[in-house]
């Protein structure tokens, strides 16, 4: 099978959906002429025209709100926020408008829009360009949240997000853009709310998503050398959550480490941990362990950033804590 990058996979998903459905259009900063800062929409403006690949001014609140308006009129806008950190500039259209329209109007309105936004640290971008803010969105009923960790998942999940009739926050990881992986030529989609068992194991379950999936797999390979057989469950979609996959895995291994690149306090790892405690406590042989970023601002200096968010070593330590 051919191997392509995560960004190429996303680009293909956008391209194919724009051909498949005329109501899909793209708007965001530098999406048109430049082809986006990460190169995802190179050539799109020439192919689809400036009406469907829109270069916006730097007005996140304005153009995200406009996407809501276009979506309730039946179009399928795909908004790019250049960094997920910028979502705080436009939380009203996301949290008060897109998320709530359907419920508040008694189901009269659907808001079929996608907000793509790269999150995550590791690029020395410092405090305002390196956060993992998924729990801001998982906390708001009405939003769906996806966070792919591989090129294969990225492509299939983005296509699903675009076709979904609800607002989807699609969090990409900026470090993964260059990461390559197998992606078939033929059409496929990945269902919303379906986790993926990236590595089966019997001793402990590592539950994670996005870039930490790669760290978890590496940790599992290291642990194998020490005779520990770790299972890696990639959630892929955070809302709706694939609880069945979590439950099945916990009942099999009885030990859980939840790994997230977001800061630990109030992070999505805490939510998973709480749900496991409530749902399958009797199956646990050890308390659920969270491995997540320190509760600080993402730092700039490389040695600081490298110990800000969890890496392979932290995951291995976490596993050993629940297994001893």
């Amino acid at each position: 099978m051919r191997s392509i990058s995560y960004s190429k996979a996303l680009s293909e998903a956008l391209h194919e959906e724009m051909i498949r459905d005329e109501s899909v259009f793209i708007l965001g900063e530098d999406m048109g002429l430049m082809g986006s800062v990460f190169g995802l929409t190179k050539g799109f403006m020439t192919e689809f025209g400036a009406q469907r690949v829109i270069d916006t001014p730097i007005s996140e609140s304005g153009f995200t709100g406009m996407a809501v308006g276009a979506a309730i009129r039946g179009l399928r806008p795909v908004v790019e926020l250049m960094y997920v950190d910028f979502a705080t500039v436009c939380m009203d259209p996301i949290a008060n408008q897109a998320a709530k329209m359907r419920y508040m109007t008694g189901g009269q309105i659907n808001v079929p829009m996608v907000i793509r936004a790269p999150g995550g640290a590791g690029r020395r971008n410092a405090g305002q360009h390196s956060q993992s803010l998924e729990s801001l969105f998982t906390h708001i009923p009405g939003l769906k949240v996806m966070a792919p960790g591989t090129p294969y998942d990225a492509k299939g999940m983005l296509k699903t997000a675009i076709r979904d009739d609800d607002p989807v926050i699609f969090i990409e990881h900026k470090i993964l853009y260059a990461q390559k992986g197998e992606v078939p030529e033929e059409e496929y989609t990945i269902p919303m709310g379906k986790a993926d068992l990236k590595r089966p194991g019997k001793d402990v379950t590592i539950i994670t998503y996005s870039r930490e999936v790669l760290f978890a797999l590496e940790a599992a390979r290291e642990l194998e050398k020490e005779g520990i057989d770790a299972e890696v469950l990639d959630l892929r979609t955070l809302v709706p959550l694939d609880w069945e996959a979590i439950e099945t895995s916990v009942k099999k291994t009885h030990r859980v480490v939840v790994v997230s690149e977001a800061v630990k306090r109030n992070g999505f790892a805490s939510e998973i941990s709480a749900q496991i405690m409530e749902g399958v406590f009797d199956y646990l042989d050890a308390p659920v362990k969270r491995v997540a970023a320190k509760n600080v601002v993402p730092p700039f200096s490389p040695p600081l950033e490298d110990c800000f968010f969890p890496g392979v070593k932290d995951i291995i330590e976490g596993v050993k804590e629940v297994i001893k």
Partner: protein, 331 residues
């Protein structure tokens, strides 16, 4: 020329709509103060002419977005008094099945894309609707109602800038009712007219007497023609006055007796009534019977609302999501 040029039919239609809105609001306020409704409501008494004048200049297929003070705007676009009253009562027969209340009325069928509880949030949504028309190459116009206070939100400037840059078929209609809750606009804005801000975006800015329904009609009609031709948006400021409090029960200590008296003289309802009579477009008895019919419709709306059931408890968790709702709300 005066109002004679519009003819009897249109003059009476304006009067009928304004009368209905006035009576809806006064009845809602009365019922609210009697404790019949939960939450809070914002009435638009005194602002009927801008809502009606603007919507009279639009076509059925055009769209509007409304404000948190949006009952009149919805009725003016063709919304139904009974469905709105039932929503205010939190009943399952209401526009939003009781899930939205006063500030979230939507009636897609009449082109009413939504009231909004966040000041200024409807402005980009309307611009987005106009963008949708442009992308789909259809000829609808979208008009956004917003207040003087919303013109100080970033969303106003961002949306109007993009609408201008992209020539969107959008009309920005500011109902300047002088107050953002308790703060008079002249204390927080150093331009004389909000419409003056149009020059910053290189689009026409028009000030109009917001209590003169026909004046509003004229200026919106011109803006709609311009938008439909592809010549882009217009900013209109309709100067009016919020006769009642921000919310029902607001003691309004921030208003002076002089300004209240001054604006009462310009109340749009007696004004259109006098004009119609003076132009001999209708007799007093005809106007009285229009009032009586509107009153009957509102009474029936109240009866409908009161006799309607509340939503069932199980409705709490439905309709959050269009797809996979149950799984998405359970965890």
């Amino acid at each position: 020329m005066g109002i004679k040029q519009y003819g009897k039919e249109m003059a009476l239609e304006c009067y009928q709509k304004m009368s209905k809105i006035r009576q809806f609001e006064l009845k809602a306020a009365e019922l609210f103060m009697q404790g019949e409704m939960a939450g809070n409501i914002h009435t638009c008494v005194g602002q009927e002419a801008s809502a009606v004048g603007a919507c009279m200049a639009l076509q059925k297929t055009d769209f509007i977005t409304a404000t948190h003070r949006g009952h009149g705007q919805c009725l003016a676009k063709g919304g139904k008094a009974d469905l709105m009253m039932a929503e205010l009562f939190g009943r399952v027969t209401g526009y939003c099945k009781g899930k939205g209340g006063s500030m979230h009325i939507v009636d897609i069928g009449v082109g009413m894309l939504g009231a909004n509880g966040i000041v200024g949030a409807g402005i980009p949504i309307a611009a987005g609707s106009a963008l949708a028309s442009k992308i789909q190459k259809t000829d609808e116009v979208t008009l956004v109602f917003f207040g003087d206070a919303a013109s100080n939100q970033g969303t106003f400037h961002e949306a109007i800038n993009m609408a201008s840059a992209w020539n969107l078929p959008c009309i920005f209609l500011c109902e300047n009712n002088q107050y953002g809750v308790s703060v008079c606009i002249d204390r927080v804005c150093n331009v004389e007219n909000i419409a003056d801000r149009a020059c910053a975006y290189n689009i026409p800015g028009k000030v109009v007497d917001g209590n003169d329904v026909f004046a509003v009609y004229e200026v919106v009609k011109e803006a709609a023609e311009r938008a439909r031709k592809g010549d882009g948006p217009t900013l209109i400021e309709a100067k009016t006055f919020r006769q009642r409090g921000h919310y029902e029960g607001d003691p309004q200590m921030y208003k002076t007796p002089e300004e209240i008296e001054e604006w009462n003289k310009r109340d749009p309802l007696p004004r259109i009534r006098t004009e119609i009579l003076k132009a001999r477009l209708a007799k007093k008895s005809e106007l009285d019977s229009i009032d009586a019919l509107a009153s009957k419709e509102i009474e029936e709306a109240v009866e409908f609302a009161k006799n309607s059931p509340y939503p069932e408890v199980q409705d709490l968790t439905t309709e959050v999501y269009a797809v996979d709702n149950e799984r998405s709300v359970i965890r």
